[in-house]
């Protein structure tokens, strides 16, 4: 299935949605019954949506994960978290807008939320560096996570990054060191940690806030060691081979579940989270609540031991 026809399908669906809206508006004005036509269109729309979902290639899913209307960490914070208090600053260098940290309540539970943030408007996107964190972002996250540990708050991380920022400043300030340090420290944090990939799970940049006791991924998010474009550029010597690379990398939620890397795939509304952010947020909240209840029941030392064993067992090799 080519990428173009997926876009055509999506456009067609949007057109039908507009048509339904027009008909409903008209009916509310003149009280004329158009319900049979509306129902018919709704049926067609649903069929197309199902068709589209069934046809999605791994690269289509990568595109959905990057969809400009896809809900971001900030949306989930608004929709799920009550009484949110943002905490800025790594107390060393700066305040990286590509990672949002803060205290809040989910249901009755007090938690620390850490979310990678891409930004909505052009201005925001630039401020957030398109969701590519700098070392100070990882250090900020770590500083807040240590705070959460001290005051016994569970940590929820929302992963959504194309990767850690690859630029001169990031190297000068120790990007590799910052990520390594976070991975290392997250293994020893004496508080429950839940990691959820909500969009892009880009390699080490994702892993820098991605170690924990429960790991889930949204249905049309992806998680990969390298971007399909980067992989294609190296192995195919041409980034246009990204669709094949996406296929080869087995980076979809379904693949990750089959490999035993994630605990759950969190279902999205038909054709993606952006179609119904509220519904998506509700589903996400349910999973988080379920995980929090499960993890709270586990003694902290067992939790840390399980966390080690979970990653200890990952890897495929043979031994002669």
């Amino acid at each position: 299935m080519s990428e173009k026809s997926i876009i055509e399908l999506e456009n067609l669906i949007v057109e039908i949605e507009h048509r339904i809206e027009d008909l409903e508006n008209a009916s509310s004005k003149d009280s004329f019954d158009r319900s049979s036509e509306i129902n018919c269109l709704k049926e067609t729309k649903e069929k197309l949506q199902v068709k589209m979902c069934n046809q999605l290639t791994p690269y289509d899913i990568v595109k959905l994960a990057r969809h400009p209307l896809r809900p971001l960490s900030s949306d989930y914070i608004t929709l799920i978290v009550e009484d949110f208090i943002e905490l800025h600053g790594d107390k060393r260098f700066g305040d990286d807008r590509a990672i949002i940290c803060g205290l809040g309540r989910i249901g009755q539970e007090k938690v620390l939320i850490i979310g990678q943030q891409k930004g909505k408007s052009t201005k925001e996107r630039i401020a957030c560096n398109f969701g590519m964190p700098n070392p100070e972002g990882y250090r900020k996250a770590l500083q807040k996570m240590e705070l959460a540990e001290k005051f016994h708050l569970p940590i929820i991380t929302l992963i959504d990054t194309p990767g850690a920022n690859p630029d001169v400043g990031a190297e000068e300030r120790g990007q590799a060191h910052a990520i390594a340090e976070n991975i290392y420290k997250m293994f020893r944090l004496k508080t429950p940690i839940i990691n959820i990939v909500i969009g892009e799970g880009g390699s080490g940049g994702a892993l820098g806030i991605g170690i924990g006791d429960k790991f889930a991924i949204l249905e049309y998010a992806y998680y990969s060691v390298i971007s399909p474009e980067g992989c294609a550029a190296i192995l195919w010597k041409n980034s246009e081979n990204a669709p094949e690379a996406a296929q080869s990398l087995k980076l979809t939620a379904k693949d990750l579940l089959a490999f035993g890397i994630v605990d759950d795939v969190i279902p999205e509304p038909l054709v993606g989270a952006h179609k119904d952010p509220k519904l998506m947020a509700n589903t996400l909240k349910k999973y988080i609540m379920k995980y929090l209840n499960e993890l709270k029941a586990i003694p902290i030392n067992t939790l840390i031991e399980n966390r080690y064993n979970r990653y200890r067992s990952l890897g495929k090799y043979s031994e002669e």
Partner: protein, 270 residues
């Protein structure tokens, strides 16, 4: 995961051109100095076997877990299949995988030692490298021995093993965390090149971090950075000297002095 510089192993022939000073140097003179240019101190890349010889007491190395070979969990295929690539890399490098691990002695002191070799798929970290480094750290904890890991990895992650490769960053870091928490001494030696996933995990987590002069060290590969910022990189960027200046190294150590320095650190800290 990252782009690489051109290969810089020692070319065959009586005379070689040094990448450091661009001069033509008598090959034997370089070999006598542990593959270091006598004119400009440029450190040529060397194989992991040669490096172990330079660092350990004669015949003291006992390799462990040498029978580990990669699986192909993704049935990965680019222009060639991963299993074909593995076979050709094994032939080319003469090793089964990118990491060699085991125990040996430095001036009579026992150590656990591991090394990643750029000659095998750029020294990238797949499941075998991750598992070997993890076992090494666990064994070092069990035997209460110092842990020494020499990184020579331009690839970072092993793309062909996809997410399993990424998980090795987590697994190795976890093992290092445990080892250090139990009071173990971990020394990381960064050699040319040390990039990507290896640097963003175990290679950056040591008690003592050393590097060879001029070694290329960083998170993103230089070409990726150049493509991102769309201008040329500052001189000396991502070299060992650059890292030292920015506070991410304890010391830069010449190859000829490395064994002696390791021995001193063990005396002080173990």
């Amino acid at each position: 995961m990252v782009f690489f510089r051109k290969k810089k192993d020692m070319p065959d022939g009586l005379w070689v051109r040094c990448d450091g000073c661009k001069g033509v140097v008598y090959k034997k003179a370089i070999e006598e100095r542990m593959s270091v240019c006598p004119e400009c101190n440029y450190h040529f890349r060397i194989s992991s076997k040669d490096r172990l010889k330079l660092l350990l007491d004669e015949d003291s190395f006992e390799e462990m877990w040498e029978g580990m070979i990669p699986a192909d969990p993704l049935s990965f295929r680019d222009r060639v299949s991963y299993s074909e690539r593995v076979i050709s890399e094994q032939k080319k490098s003469g090793t089964k995988e990118a990491a060699i691990t085991g125990r040996g002695k430095i001036d009579g002191k026992e150590v656990m030692i591991g090394i990643t070799d750029h000659n095998f798929i750029m020294g990238s970290m797949g499941s075998v490298v991750g598992e070997k480094i993890t076992r090494l750290a666990e064994k070092a904890a069990e035997l209460k021995l110092p842990l020494i890991i020499i990184s020579g990895s331009g690839g970072g992650a092993r793309m062909q093993e996809g997410v399993f490769s990424l998980m090795q960053m987590a697994k190795t870091s976890a093992a290092i965390a445990r080892f250090k928490e139990e009071g173990g001494l971990y020394i990381s030696i960064l050699t040319d090149p040390s990039l990507g996933g290896v640097m963003a995990s175990f290679a950056s987590l040591a008690d003592i971090t050393l590097a060879e002069p001029k070694a290329l060290i960083g998170f993103a590969g230089p070409r990726v950075i150049q493509e991102t910022i769309k201008r040329s990189l500052p001189k000396g960027f991502q070299t060992a000297e650059f890292l030292l200046e920015h506070g991410f190294l304890d010391r830069i150590v010449n190859r000829q002095d490395m064994k002696k320095e390791l021995s001193r650190f063990i005396d002080y800290l173990q």
